[in-house]
Amino acid sequence: MNHLSAPSRVLSPITPTVLAGCARWGAPIGATRWCHALRLVVLAALVFSSNAFAQSAKTQLKDPALATRFNEVSDRLVCQCGCNMILQVCNHVNCPSAVPMRHSIETQLLAGAPNDSIVAGFVGEYGLKVLSSPPTSGFNLAAWVMPGFALLVGLFAAVYLSMRWAAKRRVAVATPAGPIDPELKRRIEDEMKSV
């Protein structure tokens, strides 16, 4: 059996209790279907109850804390071979860029370097293009701010317009209707009778 950094799964404390309860429910006929359904739900929950978010195993680091930090750092960087993929994702075998970059991250993590300084080292070497997202300073802050700003402007515009439309409606309702033309009234009554 050859295990290469298979990710661990941490179940929530409630799961074994529910599973055990389900096993005890097996006998009653009426409960069997429900028990089966619950088992399916629990199975689904097992799939989703992993505490790690998008676990990756592109590292040989055995320490789970370091492996998690490896994932965090490699998610912030882009492979420089031209594939434009996140370092975390690049799957090129023996990639001339991803493999040494990952090795460098592992070495620095083992040496105790903090995440930010590892990322800063790569920025120093390759420039800002090595980051998977624009930094949150200077002009690049605009990348993050503009979508929210546009949404706010849109929201204000929508609220302003809808208030204007609502006011128009109030004016329309407030305008007293004139007396109904007797001829029109007679026609309406005729129509109503014919319905």
């Binding site: 929530s12 989703f48 031209g82 996140i86 994702v89 799957n91 023996n94 293009k129 990348a143 409606r169």
Partner: protein, 679 residues
């Protein structure tokens, strides 16, 4: 055959220019015979472009490598289907294919509306011809697929040259999805030209009532269907072929296809408000213009090389053609909207924020915000380089951070919108209709937390999905119960009955249900497990809750490629569930290495295996494995959305009766006209 293709293109362009002028001039001066002639020219253009496409296909099938395009994108051993698909495998061929679809749409619009009186249709065909003329100019002068290969032997003269074999189609494109994905995508992209043409015609003729909306809506839905299906098929192709375990990477070219789909979705919703309440006239015009501009912009983005993308065609000069066309058309469209504002006045009145029209307004806002975020993120590297002199990367983490909350809000509106009444929903009514959906959502959230899901977005996504499903079920349930009371039908017949009597409404709900499934599939991505394993024959490794045993490692060969295959037995809980044989291939013609992914699909999760390499020292096969929860729900959701759209596209019985009556009246009017002229 290349000359035949070239002549066909030249004739198509000539007829297209003729159609353009005769249709505009004929409609403006009221000369019916000139309009008729223009319509015939539209058919002729489609015919000549078809001949050009056939000529290129014949050249590809014959392996005529004296033609640059054929030598660049096919080879002798390429299987028949992929040879056929080479038509859209490269820049020049795909642009010819674009023109073919566009002229086909032109011919279909002319055919479907041949009985339609008035100026709207001639102007529409004129605008379609204008766009077609642009693409034919690009085909003829910017990216001609019939150009011959020439070589300079050093004597200064250019000699014709034909290599023994071609470069072949990119191996990554040699996948069944690629035979249908680009045509679907193009049918969508190009399809948006039709509602744009109707809109421009309405602006030009100042006929800005409900007429153009009625004509354009169905075409928009058609284009939206194909673009959506094309995007999903592209995702499916990426998932199966690219071997990185995912289906959407927020690549600029992927983003380019998403943007017009988002504005198209906004239009399809806001058009309902115009039809019901005579509101948002300017807004609808702006949306359809934006959709068209984004469709052309997407083509520009893919072909100009302004952003780097794995999907993009080679950098070429045709970017200038597209940029010029975009600017001119954009300026003309804006001029028309501004000068026609008085004709676009509408009865904008809003009774309450708790109304369906308000929910549509917010739905539009959210969709446009998503579109802007994608647009901004895609082009930010260009802006950054222009302003700072240094390019930055805007990758998946950025898009996910910005778009996930937007998508969740959209999911919430998907549940809320259909339950709100037009004009105003009372508080009492809201309490009644939202009680069960809210309970469903809260129970789901509690269950998620109880089972250990700690991230906020997945919890929200699952809860909102249940919220929307309960609202949709209650909508179907309420209507089916009412029908059963009246007709005494069983539940299934009642459901079929309510759907067939109001296909647009219930088809829309089916689309919403598909969207929920899609969102659930996307949420599954948050729980992906990934790992590496290496094994020789007889050895095992484990990843997640799966065990893998290597059964064989062998060589494979084909006229088109050579490579290696590993066969793995996949077990879960000690029980064998699948045997997978991923391959690593080397394509001779293109000198490229690819990974052939193999998967075990299940509704709950996929096991996705890539044969990465063999270790030189040990001879072990190195495997990369992903366990991807809920991926099948993405495809299932897409399928349900397509199904719902098809239901929506089916004509209602009432509509058919009205159309029959209208046709009879038009026929009568024509006969009366003839009789009057005869006298």
């Amino acid at each position: 055959m290349a000359d035949f293709g070239n002549i066909s293109l030249a004739l198509a362009l000539t007829f297209c220019v003729y159609a353009l002028f005769s249709l505009f001039f004929g409609a403006k001066t009221g000369r019916r015979e000139l309009v008729k002639s223009g319509e015939h020219a539209v058919y002729a253009v489609f015919g000549f472009v078809t001949l050009a496409v056939l000529a290129l296909e014949v050249l590809i099938m014959r392996s005529d490598f004296s033609i640059e395009y054929v030598a660049g994108y096919s080879n002798r051993d390429l299987p028949f289907f992929y040879k056929f698909a080479s038509l859209w495998g490269g820049q020049k061929g795909s642009l010819l294919f674009w023109s073919w679809i566009l002229t086909m749409y032109g011919a279909l619009v002319a055919l479907r509306n041949r009985q339609h009186a008035g100026k709207l249709v001639p102007y529409t065909l004129g605008v379609l011809s204008l766009t077609a003329a642009f693409f034919l100019i690009v085909n003829k002068f910017g990216a001609n697929p019939f150009e011959r290969l020439v070589v300079d032997h050093g004597d200064g003269a250019r000699h014709a040259f034909a290599p023994q074999d071609g470069n072949g189609l990119n191996p990554l494109l040699q996948h069944p999805a690629m035979v249908i994905h680009p045509p679907m995508l193009y049918l969508g992209y190009v399809g948006f030209v039709v509602p744009f043409a109707f809109c421009m015609a309405a602006l030009l003729t100042r006929e800005l009532g409900a007429g153009w909306i009625k004509l354009a809506r169905r075409w928009t839905l058609f284009a939206w269907l194909f673009l959506g299906a094309g995007v999903l098929l592209g995702g499916r192709w990426a998932y199966v072929e690219l071997g990185w375990g995912g289906y959407w990477a927020w690549d600029p070219v992927e983003n380019a296809s998403l943007m017009p789909w988002l504005t198209g979705t906004a239009f399809l919703h806001s058009v309902i408000v115009q039809e019901r309440k005579n509101m948002l006239k300017v807004w609808n015009v702006v949306l359809i213009l934006a959709t068209y501009m984004l469709a052309i912009f997407g083509t520009f983005l893919t072909r100009s090389g302004i952003v780097s993308s794995v999907h993009a065609f080679a950098q070429s000069s045709i970017g200038t053609f597209f940029a010029t066309f975009l600017v001119l058309m954009g300026a003309f469209a804006i001029y028309l909207v501004v000068t026609r504002l008085e004709f676009l006045k509408s009865d904008n009145q809003l009774d309450s924020y708790a109304s369906r029209e308000a929910s549509f307004l917010f739905n539009n806002l959210v969709l446009l915000a998503a579109c802007f975020a994608v647009f901004w993120g895609t082009l930010f590297p260009v802006f950054s380089e222009l302003i700072q002199g240094e390019q930055v990367t805007v990758g998946a983490p950025f898009f996910n951070k910005i778009n996930v909350p937007i998508a969740l809000f959209l999911l919430f509106l998907t549940g809320v919108g259909p339950l709100l009444a037009w004009r105003k929903t009372s508080f009492e009514s809201m309490k009644r209709i939202f009680l069960w959906p809210t309970i469903g959502g809260l129970v789901t959230a509690t269950a998620c937390v109880a089972f250990g899901v700690r991230s906020i977005y997945p919890v929200m996504s699952f809860s909102l999905a249940v919220f929307v499903i309960v609202t949709l079920l209650s909508e179907f349930g309420r209507a089916a119960r009412a029908r059963r009371r009246n007709t005494g039908e069983n539940l299934v017949s009642a459901l079929v009955g309510i759907t067939s009597t109001n296909k647009r409404r219930y088809g829309g709900y089916i689309v919403h249900f598909g969207f929920v499934l899609l969102m659930l599939g996307f949420t599954g991505r948050a729980f992906t497990t990934e790992g590496w394993g290496e094994a020789n024959v007889g050895e095992k490794f484990a990843i997640g809750h799966y065990d893998f045993e290597c059964l064989a490692i062998e060589d494979v060969s084909d006229p088109n490629f050579s490579g290696m295959r590993a066969t793995l037995a996949v077990s879960k809980g000690g029980k064998k569930i699948a045997e997978l044989s991923p391959e690593k291939r080397f394509y001779q013609a293109s000198q490229q290495t690819t990974s052939e992914v193999r998967m075990h699909h299940a509704l709950l999760e996929d096991v996705y295996v890539v044969f990465s390499d063999t270790k030189e020292d040990t001879g072990r096969a190195v495997m990369q494995v992903w366990v991807n929860p809920l991926v099948q729900w993405v495809w299932l959701g897409g399928f349900v959305m397509v199904l719902g759209t098809l239901v929506t596209l089916l004509p209602n019985r009432k509509d058919r009766a009205v159309t029959r009556q209208k046709r009879a009246i038009e026929q009568l009017l024509r006969e009366t006209d003839k009789a009057t002229v005869g006298r």
